[in-house]
């Protein structure tokens, strides 16, 4: 029983990481209206920027992480302005397919710069905290805290600040928002900065809790997609629930079936959800 609970706990941590990774993706989907396959590559950009500062330049992890997040946020902004803005009129399908090209370009650049092999950050070893026979490491706790902080501050930002309200207005009805005097360009810039910054946070945590290799980003997109679909594309609050569901389902499944099937469980959930409830668990008809 303790072992089972341990799997559930690890699953919750995985879920929190997935929330961090997916929330920016869902945010882009909601405001910009397309699925950004390249979002996962931004996690890679952040993780390797952090690694570069931390390991190659010998900086402490905190300034390295800050640099990683900022670099990623501006890289995402630049890509949004240069690549996606001019093709918005061509519709979400073309933007979706274009983002595959972007993912290739980013992935290839990281490959060329970093090379193959496994990398780790220069940080103290994790210490585990025990309670009721369960274990959780301090880094895992940081993931949980960051997931809560990021989703809470995003919710506050969208509901309380002027820019946040502008973003919501734009995602609901771009033409109406523009005609009511909202600066569409500025709002779009803020969106790219925020969603890429969130990818940056997730990327840093990826470097902290896992070992880094250059193909790591690609594996994340599968799970990000799973969580995003389950949440109902574009819904932000449901991401929290569905991230936890996918995380727990993946880790608890190891209790019964071989660990190799972990990614399969995520997609089995997705297929079931899409077949019976195509609009996702959030239940809004945002599927158009």
């Amino acid at each position: 029983m303790t072992l089972f609970l341990q799997f559930v706990l690890t699953g919750l941590v995985t879920g929190c990481f997935l929330i961090l990774a997916t929330i920016g993706f869902s945010f882009t989907r909601r405001v910009e209206g397309f699925l950004n396959i390249a979002h996962a590559e931004l996690l890679g950009v952040s993780a390797f920027a952090t690694w570069g500062c931390n390991k190659l330049l010998g900086w402490h992890i905190l300034p390295s992480a800050a640099v990683g997040i900022v670099v990623t946020a501006f890289a995402g902004l630049a890509i949004g302005r240069i690549v996606y803005d001019p093709i918005r009129r061509l519709g979400p399908s073309v933007m979706l397919i274009t983002s595959v090209g972007v993912a290739y370009a980013i992935g290839g650049t990281i490959d060329a710069l970093i090379g193959t092999g496994i990398r780790t950050l220069d940080i103290p070893l994790a210490t585990s905290i025990r309670f009721w026979g369960l274990r959780i490491t301090d880094y895992q706790l940081i993931v949980v805290v960051l997931a809560i902080l990021c989703s809470a501050s995003l919710a506050l930002f969208l509901n309380r600040t002027k820019t946040g309200l502008a973003i919501r207005a734009m995602s609901a009805n771009p033409e109406l928002a523009a005609s009511r005097g909202i600066d569409v360009k500025k709002t779009s810039r803020a969106t790219w900065l925020i969603s890429s910054g969130l990818a940056g946070v997730a990327g840093v945590m990826l470097g902290v809790i896992a070992t880094l290799s250059t193909d790591i980003a690609f594996h994340q997109i599968l799970q990000i997609l799973a969580v995003a679909i389950l949440a109902g594309l574009g819904s932000l609050y449901a991401v929290i629930v569905s991230g936890l569901i996918v995380g727990v389902a993946m880790d608890v499944s190891v209790f019964w079936i071989p660990a190799g099937y972990r990614p399969l469980v995520a997609f089995a959930v997705v297929i079931l959800v899409l077949l019976f409830r195509p609009q996702g668990i959030a239940g809004s008809a945002s599927g158009k």
């Binding site: 595959v100 370009a105 490959d111 090379g115 679909i229 089995a268």
Partner: protein, 306 residues
């Protein structure tokens, strides 16, 4: 050197063209975004290997090997892809646009994961090596040349059949379904059925191409059938202008030629080769973005038309 470059471009180019042409039918004519192309390709390759492989012995972990002649395996490959398209298409085709793209993508990932983990299908991650294949020498042809011709034949046959199909009244029904489903429904057409038919029909040649791929590489392993194949075919389709059959074929040939060219460069160090491979990826991605951004082929054809 140049000859082998041209031959391998033609061989792989023609084989992947079969995928691109089928995808063209699904996307440009049927309006369906299939992001799981590789699954049908893998289904064909595995079906071929299972039907022609000898029964398992020694360290083999696969459960079935029927040891049948190659043409049975080839037919089985088409059939397997068709069945897989039926199974995956029937529940998913009522989804639209990006939802369809994501479900097909998910199906492909699940299929890949099963191939990787279920050793009884094809030895798990090791895959099945030494896949049986017909020997072109029996009709007096060189190995590479023989398979190049076979790939070209399959490509031309697929292109011709699809061309005939779409030039027929049925092709107009397909276009009507894509352009305005409600209008097509209102004149008594069963659009759901048309979509499923197109989905299944276009999967069959993909299965055949899978069998051919298994013959050429004589190996089937999960690592050969990743989502990268799907993305590759999509990029080729976009390069070629995504509307016409010759465009799809030219796009694929150009992309394969580019890749083979990079591979043909001799490298002194492993690092050098690796950088070249990464650069190839970056250039492919950027080309893709540029083509989608400016759509030069559409413009050219419009100019030629006016």
């Amino acid at each position: 050197m140049i000859q082998s470059l041209i031959l391998s471009t033609l061989m792989f180019g023609a084989m992947f063209s079969v995928l691109t042409v089928s995808l063209n039918l699904q996307y440009a004519r049927g309006g369906m975004i299939n992001f799981g192309t590789v699954a049908y390709f893998a289904a064909g390759a595995y079906a071929y290997a299972i039907f022609t492989q000898e029964p398992p012995s020694g360290l083999d972990q696969y459960a079935f090997g029927f040891d049948l002649p190659w043409w049975v395996g080839f037919l089985a490959a088409g059939l397997a892809a068709m069945l897989f398209a039926l199974v995956t298409g029937w529940p998913t085709l009522r989804l639209r646009g990006e939802y369809l793209a994501l479900t097909t993508f998910a199906f492909a990932e699940v299929f890949h994961s099963i191939l990787l983990n279920e050793r009884r299908i094809g030895n798990g991650s090791v895959g099945m090596a030494n896949v049986e294949r017909p020997d072109p020498a029996s009709i007096g042809l060189d190995d590479t040349l023989g398979y190049t011709l076979a790939a070209c034949a399959l490509m031309l046959l697929t292109a011709w059949l699809f061309h005939r199909l779409l030039a027929s009244p049925y092709g107009r029904l397909v276009d009507a379904t894509r352009d305005d489903e409600i209008a097509a429904e209102s004149v008594g057409k069963d659009t759901a059925r048309v979509r499923l038919q197109i989905f299944v029909i276009s999967a069959i040649p993909i299965g055949f191409a899978g069998a051919l791929y298994a013959m050429i590489t004589t190996l089937v392993a999960p690592a050969l059938f990743t989502a990268e194949v799907t993305f590759f075919v999509w990029i080729a389709l976009a390069l070629g202008g995504e509307r016409t059959i010759p465009g799809a074929i030219l796009g694929t040939l150009a992309l394969v030629f580019f890749q083979e060219l990079v591979r043909a460069i001799p490298f002194e160090t492993v690092r050098g080769a690796q950088i070249a491979a990464s650069a190839e990826e970056v250039i492919t991605g950027i080309l893709f973005i540029l083509v989608l951004r400016w759509q030069p082929w559409d413009r050219l054809s419009r100019k030629a038309g006016s």
